[in-house]
Amino acid sequence: MLPRRIVLGIQGVGHRVIESVWRLGRASRFFILMLMKSGTSMRRFRLVIREIYFTGVLSLIIIVVSGLFVGMVLGLQGYETLQKYGSESAVGTLVALSLVRELGPVVAALLFASRAGSAITAEIGLMKATEQLAAMEMMAVDPMARVVAPRFWAGVISMPFLAAMFSSVGVFGGYLVTVVLIGVDEGSFWSQMQSAVDFRYDIVNGVIKTCVFGVAVTAIAVFEGYDAPPTAEGVSGATTRTVVTSSLAILGLDFVLTAFMFRGMS
């Protein structure tokens, strides 16, 4: 009895591994096909603009409000700890560096994945479930070029702007709490920040991170939508998987990118 159970267990593991490798292969082929079909969305840029409105502009409020609160909390907590060592003027450096290097790109990407990524997946999945994609193919309109690629490029374009807004609003929130409310000296707040934050090493690296996250989140979102089983249950499962997978991808990629960018820096 026991060996049979063990064999079944090993079979289950094998089945899952094979399934996930298959899925990974499908995702890669999907990604390359999408890049090849991107010409249409570049030529008819209006399609991309429409999607930037839905993914970027409508995500603005949640990004700006969370950025403000994250910056204010960083200011409060940083002040609380730094004043024990009498260096509360370094709070500007703390807020700016943690936002520009890590929190801005990562938190903005997480919010973007749950606000815009899930919407993209649900939309494409429902289009597939209601056979709109099949209807497009019947009319010789390629859904890859007409539906998938514009959404992908819109996400890739919006993401760096959203993260930059998150970081700058966060710095403003830190300024509000520490300088206006608590009364840290304004001059040393800005001057210490400016001498610590380097354009090339901190800001450009942050922007590179957001671009990578933008590609990862939107690629996962469009693939999950396109690959979803055409049922109500399938679409809901795909939406959940988008948020889970892209959040894990953001955090994992963040570690890898940070290890390459800030290794050995002072």
């Binding site: 603009i49 502009v57 702007f161 930059a164 807004m165 002072s266």
Partner: protein
Amino acid sequence: MQRTTMDLWVGLFVAAGIGALLVLALKVGNMGTYSAAQSYTLMGSFENIGGLKPRAPVKSAGVVVGRVLDIQFNPETFDAVVTMSIDIRYRFPKDTFASILTSGLLGEQYIGLAAGGDEVMLKSGDKIMKTNSAMVLEEMIGRFLFNKASENKDGKN
């Protein structure tokens, strides 16, 4: 939604994003205070650089005039060669004194330039002749203890 309204919103979004990037670069970062585009390089060899790192500031009279570009070890003279990029607006005389200093007790290390009185100015790629090494705490304590010990010996004799 109308086409033009959507275009307007997307335009505003992109403009706000570029504005935020500019704010980060100019107000939060150091782009506004120092540009690497217009600068010349000076070299200096130090016996010991202590904890000096690339990107550390180069100051004269407390004002940041440049940055440390590169630090290398010279295997022939066994000292450290520091390359600095200095803002083109500031010229220094040939007999300028470069020393490695520390800002505050635990602060970062920087290079302090003290101008001399020579008429000839340093050109790009020139080497600063007069340098002063970083203070290494262990060496200072060692020297102090050694002096103390020899003092005691003298006192007994």
